[in-house]
Every structure is written in structure tokens, then in C-alpha cells.
Amino acid sequence: MKPYEPVVSHIAPLDMANVDTDQIIPKNFLKRIERTGFGAFLFYDWRFKADGSENPDFSLNKPEHKNARILVTRDNFGCGSSREHAPWALLDYGFQVIIAPSFADIFYNNCFQNGILPITLDSMTVDSIFSMVKENPALQFTVDLENQQIKPAGKPAIPFEIAPNLKEKLLKGLDDIGWTLQFADRIEAYEKALEV
């Protein structure tokens, strides 16, 4: 995993609560056996009409929101399935930061396995970000993980909280398996003691 570097981008808004993993990546696209190439199918049923053409009404298809690397959305983002194809699709499409008032548990974990930074902010602050984007869709935001802040150009920075170990994991691009294998002797001791 590549170490996280500050993201500077405009923000794409997805003003919906409970966006589930079946929407993020519909199941008909789960049959690949690779980790890459899922971006083309992100939000497929919303992005494309039945005839395969782009749905111009969908937020991410609006010219002003294209190529954004930051997504802002509502409560319980990523609920539903444990499929890691969801963060793979978001990352492959270009999103590296997702801002929401809350995330579903498994999805949140999956983000950190793939170098995506999910940022939890209170609903009022998320509202204010939606307003800023509505007012000026081109507004650039810098997401600085090191200093735990989102900096809208020319406006006061918005601080955010994150567990120190998850922060370190993203900043250094650490692999959980490598971390755990340091404790191989302890795992062995556990297995011996409990005869498992």
C-alpha cells in the first residue's frame, strides 16, 4: 500500500444517507478475480441509464464534480455487504477521501486496508461542506492527515479525529499482516496454551 499523501481536490457531493455496497458496486460486477478495474462499475445503476448512456442527473456525472478525489456523503455510508470491491471501486474511480457523519463498520475497516481515508464529522459540519460545494463546486480542499484537518481554500480549516494507529497505518502505508507476523511467537504460545 502506498503511503497517504495530502489530497488536494474539489469535492463531489452525494447527498444521500445509507448508501449501500450494492449501490457502490452492483453484484453483477463482483465476478472479477482481481482487485483492480472496478472503477468503471462504481455506482453503476445510478451513473448509467438502462441503455448504457450516462445519466446526466447523477451528481458524479455533472461536469463540475468530475475528477474529484474527495466524496462527501451522509450517514451510514457503505452499509450492507462486506465486499471489499466497494473500496476497490471507489479508489479505482479516483476517490481517496470520503467524508460522512458515519460509516458502516466493515466498510470503514476495508477503507484502511486500501489507503482510503474515511473521515467522520458531525452532521452540521458535513452540512457546511455540502453548502460550500454547492456555492462553489470548484472550491479546492486540502485533506491533511498528518495534521488531521480539511482545509478549504481561503477558509478556516476543519479538524477531524482519527484513531492514532489507523492514522499511522495510512501515513506509512503499513500492511496489517506484516504487523501481526511480528507476534508470531505469541500466536504460537496462545495455540500451545489452549491446545488449538
Binding site: 444521500m16 450494492d22 478475480i33 482481481e34 450492507g80 462486506s82 458502516a104 499482516i177 505469541r186 500466536i187
Partner: protein, 503 residues
């Protein structure tokens, strides 16, 4: 660290004396069922230079049982190969094929070449890494959350994970069981452990007795309606109370299965005599002295009377009614006698706009009666409701009637070969077939519609599965989550009717 006296305490002393006072004596405070299972699986990292700081809430827990299937595992095995890692304990991982398997014409090759490729990869990966696989033709094949318990792999006090969110099902046995992503699948394969933050605990007390015609599915749907789809995010739920104790293992599995739909990490039920009776003499359950030793420990797996939960929720089952979801999230649910809520009654703007969007997608109107919703197709199956008791419940409502002519198809998909065999031995298949229902081969089927069992755009389906998301059962599909009883009655009448009136 697990104190050295613990084993002695749990296995030798506890069965003989008053458990509660002994625990209190040693620990000073009551533990929840979750605490007991969690603490037994913590790897002791004390004194190790790389150990997390005490305030980090980062733990390494040992995983007793790992279940895998064809969809979320291929990238994990690729990861192992890329980094030259081995599977640490191949005998602790079991594989089956369920998500995209066909439910008919099993004697012919799998039509969808991409599904076939995923199944082929699973076979190849299991061979290469020495993992037991129950493939399409195995007697043990079935939905991963159905075969775990029926093979006796799922046992009280175990930690169980699988790359599937409905792994919470296994918590019905007093196991700590939860879904993981593919990176974590790779992590478990390589280390037999997982890095976890300790979750909070919630107790849901289902008090009172269920009325006739109301089932476990209605209990869990009512819970999700009450606390919301993110109501238990960050928690492990323990289900307790008179109504839980009265449920069969199948009913408890239905409830634990949908914990994830309330946002919970896992759901658990304390094991009791019903649990032990279910497990006894299953292919992988312990035997002889091993059984006695295990049983002594399992009997300690319940929350102490003075255990503290981070949250408590109570639901009165005596007034519960059959539940039907009307929207595109399991929390959008109403009782059979109710109407679809008015938008003005939404608690906030975000909810109001999601209701509005859901009603447009479902082509329903606020204020419409639930009993007026007409049904095109019916699906009885999934890891939520495809066990023998679910099929008995469905069959009991058929009573020599036939599906309504307006209902195009009704498919009944047993959860496993063993369930199918048992149902056929009881003649349930004949009851379904006589009613015009289709009797299929085991798999996940129309719950997620990754195989050929897909709804056409706009079709309305009464489904015993767990998710009513947009497009879940096919693009433009409209799913209504209900109990097997309610699904069967919808098949017979062509619209929803109150199971209490037919019970």
C-alpha cells in the same frame, strides 16, 4: 492476558459451584457473554516491543474458524502468492461455493463463464493451500452460514469469520462471529488472527411471548425499524429475554443473521440446552471426553447478572405484528396492519428525502395500505430463512392451496443439501410443488441474484432474504422483506395478508 487460573476455574470448578459468585470473587465485576469470548481469544502482546499502547484499543484476536466462498476469496489468495506467504492453519479454514451457483440444471456445466471461473479459482486455491472445499457436487455444499452450524463447525465460544457480512448468523450459538473484507481474509489465512478494536456491547431484551403467526424474522425487522440501520454501529448485540429463549436455533440464527442490518459488528445469544442438543453428534462437534470438557465451558458462556452493557434496548414481543419492509433499506418497515408512513412524519430532512426516493423507486405512495401491495414473484430462501424450520413454517401455510395466478414464479431454495434432503424426507417439496412453487438446489440464489435467479426491472418480490436495497435482486427490482409465513401467503393471495389471521 488470560489468567492461569481461568482454565481451572471454567472447566473444573464452575460446573460445581455458584458461577456468579466465583466470577465476582476473582474479577470484581460481572462480564458479558461477549467479554468472556473476546477475552479468551486475545493474544497476549504484553512486553513485546511492538505491542500497541494501552490506550490504543488495538488488539490481536485468535480466529478459531474461517469460512470462505468463491466471491470474496480469490484476491486474498493472490495476495498470499504475491508476498510468498503460506496459510498458517489450513485445517481451520473451510470453503464452499454458494454465492453465484446455479439452483437448477446442476448436471450441466455452469452457464455463466465468469461464475464458472470464480468457482474454478476457489477449487484451485483450496488445492494449492490444502483447504477443505465442499464444492458444487459435495453432499456438504450449501450456503456458508447454513453448513457451518449443521456440520458442527460452529460451536459456542468460538471466534468465526468469513468474507460475508451475514457471518453474524453463527452468533446464535454463543460464538463471536462477524464478516470481514478480502484483505482481512488474507490476514486470517496468513496469521489465523485479526487486528480488532474492542467493540461496545448492547443488550436487546425481547420480552414477552410472540403471538401466533409472528416469527423471529418479525422480531429482527421490528428491531431494525426501531433502532435504525446504523442503530448498533460499533456494537456487538446480545439478544436475550423470554422470546429469545423460546426460539429454536433456526429462529435465533435468523435474528443474529440480520444484526448487520442494524449496523452491529455481531449478534450473540447465550448457549443453552437447545444449543447443546443442536450441536450434539454433528460431523465436526466434539465427542466423548472432549464433549464433556467443552460442555462445561459452554455452560459458563452467559452474561453475569451484574454485567454492564453500553446500551440496552427492549422490545415487547406480545404486541408484535408481522413485518413488511416497504422501502429500499431494512429500516423502512411497517406492521402488516399499518400504512406506508406519510413523509411529514419523517424525523428529519435526510430521512424524509430517503423515504421519498425509496417510494419513487418502489412505485408506492405514502398512506398506502401494506395489504394492498401486489406481488409478482416470491423467493423463499437465503442465509436468513432457508433452514428446515423455515421451510416447515412456509409449508404449513400452503394447506393444499395454489399460488395466485397473478404470481409469476415462487422459488423455494433450501440452504443446503442436508436441508433439502430433510425437507424431502418430510414431504415438504411435494407440498411446494403441488402449490405451483419451484423446488431448487441449494445456494444464495435470489437473495443477491448473482446467479440466474434475477427479477425483471419493476417486479415486486416477497422475499425471505435480508436486504431490500435498490437493485439487490436485479436492476430495478423491488424487494419486500418478510418471514417465510408471510412470503407463502403472499404467493397464495398475490398480495400481503396478515399471517396472524391464518395461523
Amino acid at each position: 492476558m488470560r489468567p492461569p487460573y481461568q482454565e481451572l476455574l471454567e472447566v473444573c470448578i464452575l460446573p460445581l459451584v455458584d458461577r456468579v459468585s466465583v466470577f465476582d470473587f476473582f474479577t470484581g465485576m460481572g462480564k458479558t457473554l461477549f467479554d468472556k469470548v473476546w477475552e479468551r481469544h486475545l493474544i497476549n502482546l504484553e512486553g513485546h516491543p511492538a505491542a500497541p499502547k494501552p490506550d490504543e484499543n488495538r488488539h490481536l484476536i485468535y480466529i478459531d474458524l474461517h469460512l470462505i466462498h468463491e466471491v470474496t476469496s480469490p484476491q486474498a489468495f493472490d495476495g498470499l502468492r504475491l508476498s510468498g506467504r503460506q496459510v498458517r492453519r489450513p485445517e481451520r479454514t473451510f470453503a464452499t461455493m454458494d454465492h453465484n451457483v446455479p439452483t437448477k440444471d446442476r448436471d450441466k456445466p455452469v452457464k455463466d463463464p465468469i461464475s464458472a471461473r470464480q468457482m474454478e479459482y476457489l477449487k484451485k486455491n483450496c488445492e494449492e493451500f490444502g483447504i477443505t472445499l465442499y464444492d458444487l457436487n459435495s453432499y456438504n455444499q450449501g450456503i456458508v452460514h447454513v453448513i457451518g452450524p449443521e456440520l458442527g463447525l460452529t460451536l459456542p465460544g468460538k471466534t468465526i469469520v468469513c468474507g460475508d457480512s451475514h457471518t453474524s448468523t453463527h452468533g446464535a450459538f454463543g460464538a463471536l462471529a462477524f464478516g470481514i473484507g478480502t484483505s482481512e481474509v488474507e490476514h486470517v489465512l496468513a496469521t489465523q488472527c485479526l487486528v480488532q478494536a474492542r467493540p461496545k456491547t448492547m443488550r436487546v431484551n425481547f420480552k414477552g411471548k410472540l403471538p401466533k403467526g409472528v416469527y423471529a424474522k418479525d422480531m429482527v425487522l421490528a428491531l431494525i425499524g426501531k433502532i435504525g440501520t446504523a442503530g448498533a454501529t460499533g456494537y456487538v448485540i446480545e439478544y436475550a429475554g423470554e422470546a429469545i429463549e423460546a426460539l429454536s436455533m433456526e429462529g435465533r440464527m435468523t435474528i443474529c443473521n440480520m444484526s448487520i442490518e442494524a449496523g452491529a459488528r455481531a449478534g450473540m445469544v447465550a448457549p443453552d440446552e437447545k444449543t447443546f442438543a443442536y450441536i450434539k453428534d454433528r460431523p465436526y462437534s466434539p465427542r466423548g471426553a472432549g464433549w464433556d470438557k467443552a460442555l462445561a465451558w459452554w455452560k459458563t458462556l452467559k452474561s453475569d447478572p451484574d454485567a454492564k452493557f453500553d446500551a440496552e434496548v427492549e422490545i415487547d414481543c406480545s404486541s408484535l405484528t408481522p413485518q413488511v419492509t416497504w422501502g429500499t433499506s431494512p429500516g423502512m418497515v411497517a406492521g402488516i396492519a399499518e400504512k406506508i408512513p406519510e413523509l411529514a412524519s419523517a424525523p428529519d430532512e435526510v430521512t424524509r428525502s430517503s423515504w421519498q426516493k425509496a417510494l419513487a423507486y418502489m412505485d408506492l405512495a405514502a398512506g398506502q395500505k401494506i395489504t394492498d401491495i401486489k406481488i409478482d414473484k416470491v423467493f423463499i430462501g437465503s442465509c436468513t430463512n432457508s433452514r428446515i424450520e423455515d421451510l416447515r413454517e412456509a409449508a404449513a401455510y400452503v394447506r393444499n392451496r395454489k399460488k395466485a395466478p397473478s404470481v409469476k414464479t415462487v422459488i423455494v431454495v433450501p440452504g443446503s443439501h442436508r436441508v433439502k434432503e430433510q425437507a424431502e424426507a418430510e414431504g415438504l417439496d411435494k407440498i411446494f410443488i403441488a402449490a405451483g412453487f419451484e423446488w431448487r438446489e441449494p445456494g444464495c440464489s435470489m437473495c443477491l441474484a448473482m446467479n440466474d435467479d434475477v427479477l425483471e426491472p419493476g417486479e415486486r418480490c416477497a422475499s425471505t432474504s435480508n436486504r431490500n436495497f435498490e437493485g439487490r435482486q436485479g436492476k430495478g427490482s423491488r424487494t419486500y422483506l418478510v418471514s417465510p409465513a408471510m412470503a407463502t401467503l403472499a404467493a397464495i393471495y398475490g398480495h400481503f395478508v396478515d399471517a396472524r389471521e391464518e395461523a
